[in-house]
């Protein structure tokens, strides 16, 4: 009897080991070092920035919000001129509803159906947005540029490496996956107003990973803009033709506040 007990114990251990070996394992891969994720982000970001120097795309956009009425989705053309310019032209079979461009600190917006437009040389004075051109490129191309010191402080939150930094009076944060692609970016201005960009799906454009479906949430208003990009093409037109919105000589020039009111009323073709 006494000789049998150790044998039984050994057998039990062997069977238990065998069963445990056959059972499915939860595989937890080694977490990447923050520096490795940062390197992947920088490499992918450089590829996007190079492409964003002259890229055109078509966009479908939907704006939703509790305070907004039932707004239709719209089709738009998008032109990027990294590092500091972009243009969005909302159009349909019945013509162009709105043409918007930003470059550096300036912006221009023209509404052909109303023959009204606005041009601002220093958007920060009116909109409180410093350099809308570069900001728009960063948002649309996901080419955020955290400084090295911010990467050094970056830490994982759940599965994303989160890096935080300050630009002018704004606080920014970026959540990056282990593949080096950003999942979200957040900007909080000096007044505490939060705008968040969420990069939902990605696709290859040439050899660069590019955000295909994005959501932008403006928390103060609760409005969310969903943008889906398609039909990417390297630009063939001149930068002046692609990126500049011209307000015709006979058009009415408005103050920005009037443009906002006009856009709010614009529920026509």
């Amino acid at each position: 009897m006494s000789r049998g007990r150790p044998a039984l114990a050994v057998t039990t251990l062997l069977v238990a080991y065998a069963i445990a070996s056959c059972a499915p394992h939860r595989v937890t891969g080694p977490r990447l070092e923050p520096a490795r994720v940062a390197d992947r982000y920088r490499a992918a970001c450089r590829a996007r920035a190079a492409l964003a120097g002259g890229l055109d795309a078509e966009a479908s956009a939907w704006l939703k919000g509790e305070s907004l009425r039932d707004l239709p989705g719209v089709h738009a053309r998008l032109a990027l001129g990294a590092p500091d310019a972009f243009r969005v032209r909302v159009e349909s079979l019945f013509g162009v509803a709105l043409d918007f461009a930003a470059w550096g600190d300036s912006l221009a917006c023209y509404m052909p159906p109303r023959r009204q437009g606005v041009a601002l040389d220093a958007a920060v004075d009116t909109l409180g947005i410093c350099a809308p051109g570069p900001l728009g490129v960063h948002v649309l191309a996901a080419t955020w540029e955290p400084p090295d010191s911010a990467w050094a402080r970056a830490d994982f939150e759940d599965t994303l490496l989160v890096v935080r930094w300050v630009e002018a009076r704004d606080s920014l944060a970026l959540g990056v996956g282990s593949d080096g692609l950003p999942r979200w970016a957040m900007r909080v201005d000096a007044k505490g107003r939060v705008v968040e960009a969420r990069y939902r799906t990605w696709r290859f454009v040439e050899s660069a990973s590019w955000p295909e479906r994005m959501e932008f949430e403006h928390r103060p208003s609760g409005a969310t803009l969903t943008l889906k990009l398609a039909n990417f093409a390297r630009s063939t037109g001149s930068a002046l033709e692609r990126l500049v919105v011209r307000i015709p000589a006979g058009a009415e020039r408005l103050e920005w506040s009037a443009v906002r009111r006009a856009l709010g009323r614009n529920r026509g073709l």
Binding site: L93, T236, L269
Partner: protein, 214 residues
């Protein structure tokens, strides 16, 4: 009393066609633009016109022309329908409203009179009765400049119509300053019996969101 009632019945019967036909009288040749008279004559005998349409617009980004092909159907007094199979877009327009199916955006817009009128603003000049709203200038060679009499929000106020050798519209083009330069090429006209209003109403598929516009 009986005799009076009889008179009223006779009078009512005589007036009925007039009363039932209340509204604008049928357009006369003088109400129809000269550029649309060939089409109007064929519509009088059939009631419905269909054509292949190619929409060409100059791309503001590249300067090149972009085009999409489809079909257009017209029926007097105020009905137009455009279909573009490549995008799945369909637009039905009537005086009192219309529908615009946009599968790529997952929606159908239900247009009220204001937006339907904006969408019809150039197609209506091809229909009989447009003479009251447009003036035209013959440019020669089957080409006409057609000018809207009233200024309407929505861009261009002048279009050019070119007729084919049969006197039917072959091209309609306009330019919105700061907007688009657009040309619709029309070909392969066919005429048949009118199908009526129901052929110019689009029912929304359940999968699409319906958005009402004024």
């Amino acid at each position: 009393m009986t005799r009076v009632s009889g008179w009223w019945i006779v009078a009512a019967l005589l007036l009925a066609p007039v009363l039932l036909g209340a509204g604008p009288p049928p357009p006369t040749a003088s109400d129809t633009l000269e550029s649309a008279r060939g089409l109007a004559a064929r519509l009088r005998s059939g009631g419905r016109a269909e054509a292949v349409v190619e929409r060409r617009a100059r791309d503001a980004f590249t300067g090149q022309w972009r085009s999409i092909r489809g079909r257009i159907s017209l029926e007097p007094p105020d009905r137009a329908q455009l279909e573009f199979p490549a995008s799945g877009e369909r637009i039905a327009l009537r005086a009192e409203g219309g529908e615009w199916l946009q599968p790529a955006l997952g929606q159908m817009l239900r247009l009220g009179p204001a937006n339907a009128a904006a969408a019809r603003r150039w197609w209506e000049l091809l229909l009989p009765g447009a003479g009251a709203r447009f003036a035209e200038v013959r440019l020669g060679g089957g080409r006409f400049a057609v000018v809207r009499r009233e200024e309407v929000a929505g861009g261009a106020d002048t279009a050019r119509v070119t007729l084919d050798p049969h006197g039917l519209p072959a091209q309609l083009e306009y330019h919105v300053e700061g907007g688009e330069q657009v040309a619709y090429r029309l070909s392969a006209w066919k005429f048949s019996r009118a199908r009526g209003r129901s052929a110019f109403v689009i029912q929304a598929p359940e999968s699409l969101q319906v958005v009402d516009l004024p």
